[in-house]
Symmetry: C2
Subunit: 189 residues, 2 copies
Amino acid sequence: MKEQTNIADTVVTNGINVTEYEEIVQAVKDQPDLAKFQFRARNRWDMGGYNLTTIKGFYGAGEEHGAEDRTFVVDADEPHILLGEDRAPNPVEYLLHALTACLTSTIIYKAAARGITIDSVESTLEGDLDARAFLELSNEERKGYQSIRATFTVRSDASAEEIKEMAEFSPVLDVVNYGTPVSLRIEKG
Amino acid sequence: MKEQTNIADTVVTNGINVTEYEEIVQAVKDQPDLAKFQFRARNRWDMGGYNLTTIKGFYGAGEEHGAEDRTFVVDADEPHILLGEDRAPNPVEYLLHALTACLTSTIIYKAAARGITIDSVESTLEGDLDARAFLELSNEERKGYQSIRATFTVRSDASAEEIKEMAEFSPVLDVVNYGTPVSLRIEKG
């Protein structure tokens, strides 16, 4: 979708090339299948609470991208009190990262598309979790976060109401708020 | 919760100190509030699709941990086709990382607690997302992942059924499958 644009014709707001954004919107209007994406991750257990995820290619805009030239490795661990080595954030902390990063980018992209300049975005998130279900000591508590609170501080001419309305387009917020069915298959190696 | 144990008395399975795990279970049985955790993340927007999350302290087992001596910084970006600089995985890819890392660790911890040795765990995840809702071109599609498929290959004496039963204690799986209410507050900076 990304095409060469004459710099003189290009509008950039909040670091987002709005000219290209509008080209994407037009392309998807003409050919809705271009909006279909598939993202992927591979993980390998190392030892104890430590494991590593490799993120490479994805499908989107009608073709494969990055399988050859895009590789990120991110690790996860558990803190000492949860019997890990504390070499990396733990998975429930990464969930908060995914959520706040997505809310932040959603505000930035949506604002750019609407011609709204954002000067700064900072956020703090807290998630409450009761480990009794994991430890099989209670059937009354759920296994995951019971609630998550996200507080954003945004410097911009936009109202808090409009910023919230924009943030609510966040894909990760949608998954966390409403859930997505996970099909889990186990194969013996 | 972590106490000094005589090495001769310590059982370690899959890299997990099972003796300490059992001490945690006993401590939570005696004092259920020790199971309450709060995890946290702070994020700061840099430019365009690039932002950074700092993960430090958390609350759990009745006290604060790591606020002074534990700091992880993880970044997020978007690929070029989504108008980013592709300096890091994007937020929906980090969601898959959080999910697969949590499923992996849950299998490892649960197996250790049951005395089951795991030789290896590898997994691949795929998530399908239609960008039309984000682009405000459709009200029929949801904003987040429509579905996620996780395939685990596990070398172990345990049956695939038991591994799946153990994996389903995963806190992140619980959040992704069933959702967690997110309270989102926007303040003007």
